[in-house]
């Protein structure tokens, strides 16, 4: 029963990177933080910004711009860190801005078009059209595959 209901609408967090809007399910989002001081972790892929102290828990931080191969940007007042919880790990995502929370009808989600900007197609689970906005739905499991072995290829 509840599954049926959930399937009609989906609550998402919308955030911005460059000029595009992305969406992830609210279920995986633990909190949204303002920029905190991050400690660099050496010998990790360049998109891993480091770790920060999130209320006593050391949490790794990924720069989504770097992960998607977009141009870097100075941190400013609107920069946010979205803390997401996947299976057995927590990761913070640096985004340009976290705009709002939306209920989007499930039928408005379409499978990804052949080419979506410069972001790797693997990372995208679909595209949602809500009124005039186009939201790119992220496949976080792919975006955040745990870094098991650090090899020189990753750097």
């Amino acid at each position: 029963m509840t599954e049926m209901l959930n399937q009609k609408e989906m609550k998402v967090i919308v955030f911005q990177l460059m000029d595009k809007e992305y969406a992830i399910s609210v279920d995986v989002v633990q909190s949204i933080e303002k920029m905190l001081s991050i400690s660099r972790v050496p010998k990790t892929p360049s998109y891993v910004k480091g770790v920060l102290n999130l209320r006593g828990v050391v949490t790794p931080i990924v720069d989504l711009r770097a992960r998607f191969g977009l141009a870097g940007k100075e941190m400013d007042d609107s920069t946010r860190i979205i803390i997401v919880t996947l299976e057995d790990y927590d990761v913070g995502l640096i985004v340009d801005a976290a705009n709002d929370v939306l209920d989007i009808p499930v039928e408005s989600i379409e499978s990804q078009p052949e080419v979506v900007g410069s972001v790797e197609v693997d990372f995208i689970s679909g595209v949602a059209k809500v009124e005039k906005r186009l939201l790119v739905m992220l496949n976080l499991d792919k975006v955040l595959e745990p870094i098991k072995r650090v090899t020189s290829d990753d750097l």
Binding site: P42, R55, V58
Partner: protein, 685 residues
């Protein structure tokens, strides 16, 4: 029934009861006449049986039941305590342990126990069969049937209690008491009846409920279910003696009756509503029972009140607490700037209170080393038999407390050391007599606190380490050269047996062979931040001393600075810090080295290893170096500056960053920043 919420509790408690069985069985072997010990074992077995039956693990319940029968025969002096019987019972406990462990690991907890059950049956057949059947016949006598009597319905828990009492030879009676219509003090009469019943047995249930009876919220009759050894007729007479009692009807409950009653209950739809009400109120009755049980138990066991807490919750508590400490630090600095006496006072108080809080939280993670030690007596008994040796194990200081994280890790190394002591240390009885030693060897396991460390010692009065044999083997294995061996002290020679690839056993035995040497023990202990040392006198015995940190979650580190970043280097790897002149740095095949007290020590430039984004040129004439070790090998870590020594709380980097080169974890500094902990072992090849 969804048993999940109780599953962990069941596993924990089963382990405890099995451990208690083990201990008491070993005790019983020493004092075969002490029936109090048998009762103790019986109690544990009985509880275990009840628990596993309730949880639906029939195999465990059945095996425990068979074991219980044997124990019952022992305590009724029908069969004597012999080593053979104890062997079988101990094996039964072993099997039960395996089954429980299997359940804990997600298995079915099933195991082929036919052979064992047969041997248990054979033992029990020694003379107890008559007693059991006698109890059964007694239980089937129905004293009196009365049309007025109220039938009680029982929930699963009560059913289990009743059917268990049958197995113990108790009777379960349903007693319906009718008071006279003109009875004035109904509650007082109820009280008197309960008084009589409670003297002879245990009240399982009453209808109406006890509170209602106390408030006189009932008509003239009430019914009580009682577990007792008392004969129904005698009991009836006793209750009738209470004045204003009109009649007493007693029904003896049987297994069949219970089973039928249950079925009837399921059929009747109307009664279901009543049952729902009953179950709602159920907890109060159960609570009373547990309270009663609690009272009885406290008489036997210690009066400690404890609760089980998941260690993860303690970790969360610890994390939150650290946040508090960080905020406290900020408050302190604000207060010192503002010079407000009241604020200062409050901050000081807060500092004191949070300091106390910290030690309490740390203490909560401490558990006695007993939890590891208490599996050894049985192991030693078995090993001594396998090896045909006579050994007594003495345990001293089992109450010494250690952090849970350390406790979990030291079990295996200790098992290895004990196996080693029995296999290579203690000689065979004949050898011992020939040497003028008592036939029976003594192995002492000792634990004690000293400063910030816990020491665990294993001492035996066996053969000790033979200098010649060890040196011969070490030279043969290329561990040392002949020249060095000659200059080594006895202690150094003894410690050679900890070197990798070394085993003094001339042939690999089942006991300590296993393809791994003591070097594994040494590595495990060192990975815990501990040390192991050996003192041995040939012909007189050996002493293995293990030094462990109190907790793994707090370690001492040296904080160092690289550019603007702070790193922590564990003190356990640091030999010393030094400031060297650039001119002292030498080049040896593309590797910069220094001469450190006669040793050539390679330098590791942490800034290069950690790929510092911007590296300033060193115009400084002096460089700060931390000399670290991995086993016998040294390295000098070049850093910008030393910040100082500090106790830090160890944290992981989480599952996302599963292995980062040369970083073993992280910690949170007083200013809220994360500092990474350097893994010196991976920096030294």
């Amino acid at each position: 029934m969804d048993t999940n919420p109780y599953f962990e509790m069941f596993i924990d408690e089963s382990k405890e009861h099995l451990q208690s069985c083990n201990e008491h069985l070993l005790e019983l072997e020493k004092n075969p006449q002490d029936l109090a010990i048998v009762n103790e074992i019986f109690r544990s077995a009985h509880t275990l049986k009840g628990m596993s039956a309730t949880m639906g693990y029939e195999d465990i319940a059945d095996l425990t039941h068979m074991m219980e029968n044997v124990l019952d025969a022992i305590r009724n002096a029908k069969i004597p305590v012999t080593t053979e019987i104890l062997d079988v019972v101990l094996q039964a406990v072993d099997y039960l342990e395996e089954m429980v462990m299997d359940l804990a690991a997600g298995g079915t907890g099933k195991k082929d126990v036919r052979e064992l059950v047969e041997s248990l049956n054979r033992i029990e057949a020694g003379g107890s069969a008559i007693a059991v059947s006698a109890a059964e016949t007694a239980a089937t006598i129905v004293v009196e049937e009365n049309s007025e009597k109220v039938e009680l319905s029982y929930d699963d828990y009560e059913m289990t209690v009743i059917s268990q009492s049958f197995e113990q030879g108790f009777n379960a009676l349903e007693i319906t008491v009718q008071l006279r219509e003109d009875c004035v003090l109904k509650a007082a009469r109820v009280f008197m009846v309960f008084g009589i019943l409670e003297k002879v047995g245990e009240i399982v249930k009453s209808e109406p409920k006890v509170e209602q009876l106390e408030n006189e919220e009932f008509g003239e009759t009430f019914t009580v279910a009682l577990i007792t050894k008392e004969d129904a007729n005698t009991l009836q007479g006793k209750v009738m003696k209470v004045s204003e009692v009109e009649s007493v009807t007693i029904t003896v409950l049987t297994d069949d009756y219970l089973a039928n009653g249950k079925r009837a209950k399921e059929d009747e739809a109307i009664k279901a509503i009543e049952t729902a009400i009953v179950t709602q109120k159920g907890p109060s009755v159960q609570q009373e029972q547990t309270e009663q049980k609690g009272k009885r138990n406290t008489g036997v066991q210690s009066g400690n009140k404890t609760i089980r807490v998941n260690i993860d919750r303690l970790d969360i508590l610890m994390n939150l607490f650290e946040e508090l400490v960080i905020d406290r630090g900020r408050l302190q600095s604000i207060a010192s700037e503002l010079h407000n006496p009241e604020l200062n006072e409050t901050v000081e108080r807060m500092t004191r209170v949070s300091g106390d809080l910290q030690s309490i939280i740390l203490n909560m993670r401490m558990i006695p080393v007993e939890t590891v030690f208490n599996r050894f007596p049985k192991m030693v008994r078995q090993l001594a038999r396998d090896l045909d040796k006579k050994v007594t194990l003495e345990i001293i200081g089992a109450e010494t407390e250690l952090d849970r994280t350390v406790i979990d890790e030291i079990g295996d190394p200790l098992v290895h050391l004990i196996r080693n002591a029995l296999d290579h240390g203690v000689e065979s009885p004949a050898e011992r007599l020939a040497k003028g030693k008592p036939e029976e060897g003594t192995v002492t396991l000792r634990a004690y606190h000293s400063g910030n460390h816990v020491f665990i010692e294993l001492e035996d009065d066996g053969a000790g380490v033979s200098r010649e044999r060890v040196i011969a083997k070490a030279i043969a294995n290329g561990v040392v050269t002949e020249d060095i061996a000659r200059t080594m002290t006895d202690r150094q020679v003894a410690e050679l047996i900890l070197a990798s690839g070394f085993s003094t056993a001339e042939k690999i035995s089942d006991v300590s062979g296993r393809g791994v040497g003591l070097d594994v023990v040494k590595n495990t202990i060192e990975s815990l931040g501990g040390y192991i040392s050996i003192d041995s006198t040939e012909g007189q015995g050996s002493l293995f001393q293990v030094q462990l940190p109190l907790t793994l979650s707090i370690i001492s580190v040296m904080l160092v600075e690289l550019e603007k970043e702070v790193y922590a280097i564990p003190l356990s790897s640091i030999i010393e810090t030094a400031i060297i002149q650039k001119s002292d740095i030498l080049n040896a095949h593309n590797q910069k080295v220094i001469d450190f007290r006669g040793n050539i020590v390679p330098l590791v430039y942490l800034k290069e290893i950690f790929e510092m984004p911007e590296q300033h040129d060193e115009s400084d004439e002096f460089q700060s170096v931390v000399i670290v070790r991995k086993g016998e090998k040294l390295a000098g870590l070049v850093v910008d500056s030393f910040i100082g020594q500090q106790e830090i709380v160890l944290k992981t980097l989480g599952n996302y960053l599963q292995s980062v080169f040369a970083i073993s974890g992280a910690t949170i500094l007083g200013n809220g920043q994360v500092a990474l902990i350097v893994d010196c072992n991976s920096l030294i090849k």
